[in-house]
Amino acid sequence: MGSLFKKPATLMYPVVPREWQERTRGHIDINEPECILCGMCMRKCPTNAITVDRNAHTWSIERMKCIQCGCCTYNCPKNCLTMAQTYTAPSVTKTVDTFDIPQKEKAGSSASADGKLQNNVEECIYCGLCAKNCPQEAITVDRKEKSWELDEEKCVKCGLCTEKCPKKCLEIK
């Protein structure tokens, strides 16, 4: 009976806009200038919703495949992916949003202008963890020959090797 005299519990959406909570997982946003096209998000996405094309310099996401889990945001080495609050707009077609990633100025690599991966060979113990964890297989380590080689063309400066190195002798500078 009281319901007759109280105001409705429902929101008169869309006339009254919805107030989103701070942590609401709505959709993924990308900060294009920071992206280094390393492709970590593409590898970690459980539904393969993200496509990173290094040659075309684009980052695209299939909105209907994205499950808003946030894995890409946790794994991005440059923290350029964020979870925004508003839900993907309804659509009759499967929306694919493509973003152009601006080319970085430094020559020699199509990725970040942040410098290159360097190894302090005096500390290096040639354990090979960097090579095993490199998603691009850009590092070659030979324990017997005590050699450490980097293919700079392949390196995307994701920083995984620097995290895995037990001697902390790898640095991107």
């Binding site: 319901s3 909570q21 997982r25 808003q68």
Partner: protein, 262 residues
């Protein structure tokens, strides 16, 4: 785990009311449930899918101000639920649809391996929270048991569990320590592990098996859900019942059809 339990039981109460045609009661139950969904969205980011569990703990922390706000919101939920309880337990038209319907004796419940509120309403004191996993011994837990064994008793058990869960959440909020939210887990795994947990619908059984040599991959993962265990009991209660009682008997096990045989 207890917030989803409150949510699940409120959802079920709404569906039960919808099942016997009491649409306005259904809408009121779901209106109260919206407060719980707001709590989920505030803390995890999602209303039904949370995505906060990780190996070693949880991903997101909750600060003290939010915990206090949750506690106050739950007081409001408790007050609202008390108004609904009166209708479910005492209203004549509701009792006509629930009392004596779908009777399951204690012996049948044991033979048919019923779990959760379905078993507790037939007098079986069975709740995985009594086995000591989790912190239930610290926040105080008593299982809610009825003996009538009919749909009304199952409704009463679930309503009692809502209040019990709200009390446990508030106790946990008072006692929660200010420590890490996750522990680092390194290395690969092998072997097998099994765990039983008390979900809102009953006992769920989780089984994970790795390979013989430690790897980062699992060989097998299986979840046996409680709805699966309660289906034989539902079939037993459906035998010889009136046509109008069929929705009551089906709803009374709190069926999650999508969970059945995952």
């Amino acid at each position: 785990m207890n917030c989803p339990r409150v949510h699940s039981h409120l959802l079920w109460l709404g569906l039960l009311a919808d099942g016997f045609g009491f649409e306005s009661l259904f809408n009121h139950c779901w209106r109260v449930r919206e407060s719980i969904l707001d709590i989920f969205e505030e803390t995890t980011g999602g209303r039904v899918i949370f995505s906060v569990c990780t190996v070693g703990g949880v991903r997101k922390d909750i600060d003290n101000a939010t915990l206090r706000a949750i506690s106050e919101k739950l007081e409001e939920v408790k007050r609202e639920t008390q108004k609904l309880t009166g209708v479910f337990i005492n209203d004549t038209s509701v009792k006509n649809r629930l009392c004596g319907v779908g009777y399951l004796s204690k012996e049948d419940a044991v033979d048919l391996c019923t779990v959760g509120p379905m078993a507790r309403a037939s007098g079986i004191v069975q709740d995985i929270r009594l086995t000591g996993n989790g912190v239930y011994d610290e926040i105080g837990f008593e299982p809610c048991v009825e003996t009538a064994g009919d749909c009304w008793a199952r409704c009463k058990v679930r309503i009692d569990e809502i209040y019990a869960s709200i009390d446990m959440i508030q106790t946990a909020i008072d006692k929660i320590p200010d420590t890490e939210i996750a522990v680092p887990v390194k290395g690969n795994f092998s072997g097998e592990f099994a765990l039983r947990m008390e979900q809102p619908r009953g006992e769920a059984f989780y089984y994970a098996k790795g390979f013989d040599e430690p790897t980062k991959f699992m060989e097998r993962m299986r979840v046996r859900t409680p709805t699966n265990m309660n289906i034989p009991a539902m079939v037993k209660t459906l035998q010889g019942c009136d046509l109008a009682d069929v929705p009551m008997n089906v709803l009374t096990i709190d069926p999650c059809i999508s969970c059945t045989e995952r």
